[in-house]
């Protein structure tokens, strides 16, 4: 067994032009170039993508699920940001 475990990379696939990249899974690789090759062989064996991103997992900064409600709280009470907050009388069209 190799002494050092290869780092983990997250894999993102754009399935076709016009769509954004979407998380597909992860791969281990010794370096960036190998990560791209491994991601291709693991996640696009049936032409699932036209573009691949790989990024070192330890480079991702993520929000903490234990703090979810506090973290997203600022948006909770701002219902006036939604169009449904405004009442438009019957008869007004195209609004």
């Amino acid at each position: 067994m190799s002494k050092q475990e290869w780092p983990l990379y997250e894999v993102f696939i754009r399935t076709k032009s016009g769509l954004s990249h979407r998380h597909a899974g992860s791969v281990h690789a010794a370096d960036d170039q190998m990560a791209l090759g491994n991601a291709r062989d693991t996640y696009t064996r049936r032409s699932e993508g036209v573009s691949l991103w790989v990024v070192r997992s330890d480079s991702i900064v993520a929000s903490d699920p234990a703090e979810t409600s506090a973290f997203f709280e600022p948006a909770e009470d701002k219902i006036y940001r939604h169009p449904t907050f405004y009442k438009i009388p019957d008869g007004v069209e195209n609004l």
Partner: protein, 328 residues
């Protein structure tokens, strides 16, 4: 998200005592069909159950390459060779999706691979049977992958998000596996008497081991009830086995070969086939390491791992050197 940084969060959380309130809140999320994600709080037993199940599943895919790999150079045509190679590559891919999913729970890839190589970890009993003829490749695709699909489709709705997502990907690919197996069987069954006899022989040998793939009877299954409550499992072993028998017996009828079970009959009242008792002693023996190929499978996996060590070391050395140069 499958990030390594998550492991740290997991370890801190493990020190928090599991109070009844926390367990109740967790169960309420499960009952509400919410998905559990990697960084979410989860009971230790839920985490352990998933690590065991997902890693065993991954090991099964990896060991499962061997019985079919046995026929890669001997498949009867270039087309069959190419198809079989694609299928074996898929099995490797499935193993990798699943190892990734297990890693989100805080277990390392090296740890899982080490457990497989040391013989500590289990894998599906079915892969300890030999592939004696080309017809066995047909029988594996049709029966073994067919049984796997029965098990795996409900896992696409499993409560643990990363496992469920990996299974969606796996299930899409399994369908090709089962169809190519059935097509091999169909070609043999429409061929000469000798070819049809090969197909019958393969069915005879793979039928019972395939039924064992669903695990012990519900009354004997030690993990079932808790896994059902956690929605890791959606159907019991016996329910899935019954479903498999019902569809497969009909397919065997189409092929014109017969399932090796004297007690098999259609029960009008229930609308299901009833079938004979499985030889559970054989199942226990194979799981315990005494099946026809257990030793061979493990020796071959260890050899492949050892033979590949220099490649891993060279890649690591190259990456370290490039990183050092870039830093200089």
């Amino acid at each position: 998200m499958y990030t390594q940084g998550l492991d740290q969060a997991g370890k801190e959380q493990r020190e928090v005592a599991e109070t009844a309130d926390m367990l109740d809140a967790f169960q309420a999320r499960i009952d509400a069909e919410e998905k559990i994600e990697a960084k979410d709080w989860m009971p230790e037993a839920y985490r352990r159950t998933l690590i065991r199940q997902i890693s065993q599943h991954a090991h099964s895919e990896i060991i499962g390459m061997q019985p079919e790999g046995n026929w890669l150079t001997r498949a009867p045509s270039l087309k069959r060779k190419a198809i079989l190679l694609a299928k074996v590559q898929d099995e490797a891919g499935h193993g990798l999706y699943l190892y990734s999913a297990a890693e989100t729970l805080g277990v390392s890839r090296d740890q899982m691979v080490g457990d497989l190589l040391s013989g500590k970890a289990k894998y599906s009993s079915i892969f300890n049977y030999p592939t004696l003829s080309w017809a066995d490749i047909g029988a594996i695709g049709w029966l073994v992958d067919g049984a796997a699909i029965m098990n795996q489709i409900p896992l696409c709705r499993c409560s643990y998000g990363p496992y469920a997502r990996a299974m969606v990907r796996v299930c899409k690919e399994e369908s090709f596996h089962q169809r190519q197996g059935f097509e091999i069987m169909l070609t043999l069954c429409r061929g000469t008497d000798e070819q049809k006899a090969m197909a019958q022989d393969a069915l005879n040998r793979w039928w019972w081991p395939s039924l064992m793939m669903f695990g012990p009877n519900d009354s004997e299954s030690k993990h079932s009830a808790q896994s059902m409550a956690w929605k890791i499992k959606r159907f019991s072993n016996d329910e899935l086995r019954q479903k498999f028998v019902d569809v497969t017996v009909q397919q065997a009828g189409y092929l014109g070969i017969s399932v090796p079970d004297d007690e098999l009959r259609f029960d009008e009242a229930s609308g299901h086939y009833t079938f004979g008792e499985i030889d559970w002693q054989e199942f226990i023996d194979v799981i315990a390491g005494n099946g026809p190929c257990n030793k061979q499978r493990l020796l071959k996996r260890r050899a492949a791992h050892d033979d590949g060590a220099w490649v891993r070391e060279a890649a690591q050395a190259y990456a370290s050197k490039q990183a050092a140069r870039a830093a200089a």
